[in-house]
């Protein structure tokens, strides 16, 4: 048995990721709905839960690509991280402008949660886009 096949055996199946994604979407939905209805959106943690749900949906879509852990998947990861560096720079620039020019106020926890959620989502969405194009 080759190393790649052994690695593929240890990777959970696509169904596992899809099941976790459905569960996480339901949990994130409840948290987002409760924070919106209570007028406290974004509290912070609900964004992280939502971004984790996005991550799991992306992983279920990416499963056939990363299960073999071959050179194409490694290239997708490299290029994805490279593109995300610039995407994050643009996002931070926009966030700085928004904070400077608008009366929007967020706590440190909220700001870090927004940035972390954006980063988690954008990294995995970029992987999905690249896996379709490469």
């Amino acid at each position: 048995m080759t190393v790649q096949r052994f690695a593929a055996l240890r990777t959970p199946g696509k169904g596992v990721f899809k099941g976790l994604a459905i569960y996480q979407t339901a949990v994130a939905g409840v948290f987002v709905l409760s924070s919106v209805l209570s007028g406290k959106f974004p509290v912070g943690h609900e964004l992280l839960l939502a971004s984790t749900a996005i991550m799991l949906w992306c992983l279920s879509a990416l499963h056939p690509h990363f299960a073999a852990d071959d050179e194409r998947w490694r290239r997708i990861r490299e290029r994805g991280m490279f593109f995300n560096y610039f995407i994050l720079l643009v996002f931070l620039a926009v966030l700085l402008i928004v904070f400077a020019l608008t009366p929007l106020e967020m706590s440190g926890y909220q700001t870090v949660s927004v940035i972390a959620s954006f980063l988690i989502s954008s990294v995995f969405i970029t992987f999905v886009v690249l896996s379709r194009r490469m």
């Binding site: 080759t2 790649q4 096949r5 056939p64 690509h65 299960a67 073999a68 071959d70 050179e71 194409r72 998947w73 290239r75 896996s131 194009r133 490469m134």
Partner: protein
């Protein structure tokens, strides 16, 4: 870069799964290679040539898109 992976695979009666298994890559990688969306590393190109029993130059054409 144009390649003749699909032609070689068909000639030998191999499926994409067979070729992926022989090369230790995913089937998606074979699909991308055959569509010309992904250029393999030198190592994978040598493996392809070894599987098909031909030279790398017979599999890839750098002149054509």
């Amino acid at each position: 870069m144009k390649n003749y992976i699909r032609d070689n695979r068909s000639e030998r009666g191999m499926t994409q799964d067979d070729l992926a298994e022989a090369l230790g890559v995913s089937r998606q990688t074979i699909i991308s290679l055959e569509k010309g969306r992904y250029n393999p590393s030198l190592e994978l190109a040598f493996k392809l040539a070894a599987v098909f029993g031909c030279r790398i130059e017979e599999l890839f054409d750098p002149e054509e898109e």
